[in-house]
């Protein structure tokens, strides 16, 4: 059994409530932190090697130490709870089950950063989780864990939870900040970065729910101890939300470094492929990371086993590798149509583009339409090349990474499964054959 740092108590009855949470060591981390100096906490987080769990994997301790600290200007910690990437559902699970862990992490992080007011920005669709968090925050205020002079430490700390209106783009940290300010959720053009000018132009750290939660065990056990778990620069535990054609979909806390094969096939985790089928492909880190076929997800190009770490999953770049991303692990069996799955993803990115920059605004819709055309049975070989060309003209030319998030799935599907596109184009009757979980828009795009 791998060690559990975040989910250890997740199944304790009543752990949602403050009483039960405290009985199980809840807020001991905060108590310890308040007795340390803020810099010492940042130092522990640095030592832990914790990397951002929101997708990009940027070292959290380093992010914290970059925060500008001009005199007399308030600073903020903002928790990114906008989780909307298809395939990723770990933050929701945690906030729903053990809300006080997030509040404790926010209090520790804010104390370390010198932020007296902090925010949790939660995805609009998760209204019920918003209520769970709000209730937990109210409890914490009543118990003196939030508000003036928390736990008698002299540190004043207010925590607010804010509900978005349901836009994937508001998970991009600068769009999130705009939205939190009450504006249209458009990503900002960087620089300046949030560490210098974030929320209301003040220095701001934006961290994913899981990153914030991980600070609690780090403070409790010490950064060095945390760093002992894992492999190389992938330290600690990571939540993986596994879904698709596996026997046991769900959220798993793994020690970074276990082999991908073990994660998919062992009974401790996914429990193998459903109905005795064979594995076809995996999208390992949320819908935006490159899809990999079976042989490449289980093994590196050199034949060594691929591990669940940042480095191993990205080994080989995008030619033979992918990314750990946000930990949304989507497994597809042998009957799955990669093209149909791609269409679903493309539809999503088209729908979620904010529309600020032309390559993403126009290109995402174009790719969706071309894919629709292929699945309608009217595609040509040129359409496959066209798709490749469109994605290459979006990638790297946009304001925020949503452009890439839309381009990578297309590029990787064509790179690894080109024959499937060609089969659909040459032999349209084959499109009807396999039909897993996909729905074409009823209306075909109108041709001019």
């Amino acid at each position: 059994m791998g060690r559990k740092l975040l989910t250890e108590n997740i199944n304790v009855p009543g752990i949602q409530s403050l009483d039960v949470y405290r009985k199980h060591g809840g807020y001991d981390g905060l108590k310890k932190a308040l007795g340390m100096s803020p810099d010492a906490i940042v130092e522990e987080v640095k030592k832990s090697g914790l990397r951002g769990r929101g997708g990009a994997g940027f070292p959290t301790g380093m992010k914290w130490s970059f925060l500008a600290k001009p005199d007399g200007v308030p600073r903020h910690l903002v928790c990114n709870a906008d989780e909307s990437e298809p395939g990723t559902f770990k933050d929701r699970y945690m906030m729903e089950r053990i809300p006080h862990l997030l509040i404790e992490g926010m209090a520790i992080g804010s104390f370390a950063l010198g932020a007296n007011t902090s925010y949790i920005y939660i995805r609009g669709e998760l209204l019920y989780v918003f209520h769970i968090l709000q209730k937990a925050i109210d409890e914490a205020y009543a118990a003196g864990l939030l508000g003036k002079n928390i736990m008698g430490s002299g540190f004043d700390f207010d925590l607010h939870v804010h509900c978005g209106a349901g836009a994937y783009i508001c998970g991009e940290e600068t769009a999130l900040i705009e939205s939190l300010e009450g504006k249209r959720g458009n990503p900002r053009i960087k620089p300046p970065f949030p560490a210098i000018q974030g929320l209301w132009q003040r220095p701001t750290v934006v961290n994913n729910v899981e990153s914030v939660m991980a600070v609690v065990p780090i403070v409790k056990m010490g950064g060095d101890e945390y760093a002992k778990i894992g492999v190389g620069k992938s330290t600690g535990t990571k939540l993986i939300s596994a879904c698709g054609h596996i026997n046991k979909p769900g959220v798993y806390e793994i020690e970074l470094g276990i082999p991908v094969e073990e994660f998919i096939y062992s009974d401790e985790y996914c429990g193998g492929i459903r109905n005795g089928k064979d594995l076809k492909a995996v999208v390992a880190g949320g819908s935006s990371v490159p899809i990999l076929p079976k042989d490449l997800i289980l093994k590196l190009a050199n034949g060594e086993p691929r591990l669940m770490t940042y480095e191993s999953l990205s080994d080989g770049g995008f030619i033979t590798g992918t990314m750990l991303g946000s930990g949304g692990f989507i497994v597809m069996d042998e009957d799955t149509s990669v093209v149909k799955n791609l269409y679903t993803f493309s539809r999503f990115y088209h729908h979620e583009s904010c529309g600020q920059c032309s390559p993403c605004r126009e290109g995402t819709g174009w790719m969706e339409k071309v894919l629709h055309k292929i699945l309608d049975g009217h595609g040509t070989l040129e359409d496959v090349d066209l798709l490749w060309d469109i994605q290459s003209k979006i990638e790297g030319k946009t304001i925020c990474p949503l452009g890439e998030a839309a381009a990578w799935p297309v590029a990787s599907a064509i790179r690894h499964f080109r024959s499937e596109f060609e089969e659909y184009v040459k032999n349209p009757s084959s499109i009807k054959k396999d039909n897993h979980y996909y729905r074409l828009n009823n209306i075909s795009p109108e041709v001019a």
Binding site: A167, I169, R184, I189, H350, H351, E352, S353, C354, G355, Q356, C357, S358, P359, R361, E362, G363, T364, G365, W366, K369, L386, S392, K393, G396, K397, T398, I399, P445, E446, V447, A448
Partner: protein
């Protein structure tokens, strides 16, 4: 002062200068096209991506190249930076892609568009566009809207450069329009067609790079290249009163602000000058307006013939026409 090299031309520029501004200081063909940046509007730029360039050396201190093309209008120059624009074939290919995206859903109804002849998108598609669109689907369309008495919004032609939004924010007293919806159905809108009524709202027409915002008092009066632009001024209490009159015989068909070589207005003008002073007697006429831009608009104007690369056999007739003007 940081020194930057763009396509082999070096220049020293003040701290904080962007690559685009530095390129404009050097001038000539190396200046990247800019469809959304507007030097007179704060926070403009970054949206259209036509101005992208390749940074092959970040700076003297950190010589690494930048991994992706950057928007030259929003990237500040560092000392020792080396930039490629026209000399990088892959960059030009990338820009072609951006232009294709901008034109993807664009109606290209230039023959009936009031902007034709002074349209930056038209120029851009001549210079960087593909001969034929690869987009085979129906283009998106929006209803035309009158925003107030004097301004027409033809959203179908809009490229979402956000300039008009910034004018309304920064030049007018209050903003009643902005962007609603998202992605490829995002649109410029005034809530419930509320009119833009501010003394300076007419400037949105001048900043719009395409024919999405046009002057209703000029609509379909004439093709712009059949008019004579004249510098003129009047004593105005609200603005500088310095304008260009677009005339035909004794008629003043349109009044606009004066624009510089980059197509940006020199000074904002007020709505009274723009929409209400349509008699030559309202104005002191200074003389013909020099039109710098190399677009179709210039074709009929004598001053520009030197810049146009024209067939010598045409020279005479153009000279003649120029004299007649």
């Amino acid at each position: 002062m940081p020194k930057v090299t763009i396509d082999g031309h070096s220049i020293e520029v003040p701290e904080g200068t962007t690559i685009l501004q530095a390129a404009r200081m050097i001038g000539g063909d190396i200046v990247p096209p800019a469809m959304c940046y507007y030097s007179k509007l704060k926070t403009s730029g970054g949206y259209c991506r036509t101005c992208i360039v390749k940074v092959t050396k970040g700076s003297e201190k950190d010589p690494r190249p930048m991994p992706k093309p950057v928007a030259s209008c929003r990237t500040t120059v560092m000392d020792g930076m080396e930039v490629q624009n026209t000399t990088a074939p892959d960059l030009l290919e990338a820009r072609k892609g951006v232009v294709e995206f901008l034109l993807l859903n664009h109606p290209l109804d230039c023959p009936v568009c009031d902007q034709a002849g002074e349209c930056h998108l038209q120029d851009l598609s001549y210079q960087h566009g593909l001969a034929k669109s690869r987009y085979e689907f129906k283009r998106r369309e929006f209803e035309k809207i009158d925003i107030g008495e004097n301004i027409k919004l033809h959203m179908t032609r809009c490229i979402l450069c956000y300039r008009c939004v910034k004018v309304a924010d920064q030049v007018c007293d209050s903003r009643v329009h902005g962007v609603i919806n998202r992605g490829d159905v995002a649109e410029i809108s005034t809530y419930i067609e509320k009119s833009l009524d501010s003394d300076f709202s007419g400037n949105v027409i001048d900043v719009c790079p395409v024919g999405a915002l046009t002057d209703r008092t000029f609509r379909f009066k004439s093709r712009v290249w059949f008019t004579n632009p004249m510098n003129a001024h009047r004593n105005c209490t609200k603005c500088s009163g310095k304008t260009v009159l677009w005339t035909s015989g004794d008629d003043v068909l349109r009044v606009s602000a004066r624009k510089d070589v980059h197509g940006e207005v020199e000074e904002w003008i007020c709505n009274e000058c723009r929409f209400e002073k349509k008699e030559k007697s309202d104005w002191t006429i200074e003389g013909p307006r020099h039109i710098d831009r190399k677009s179709v608009i210039s074709a009929n104007h004598y001053e520009v013939k030197k810049q146009l690369k024209i067939d010598v056999s045409n020279q005479k007739s153009i000279d003649e026409r120029a004299h007649n003007n």
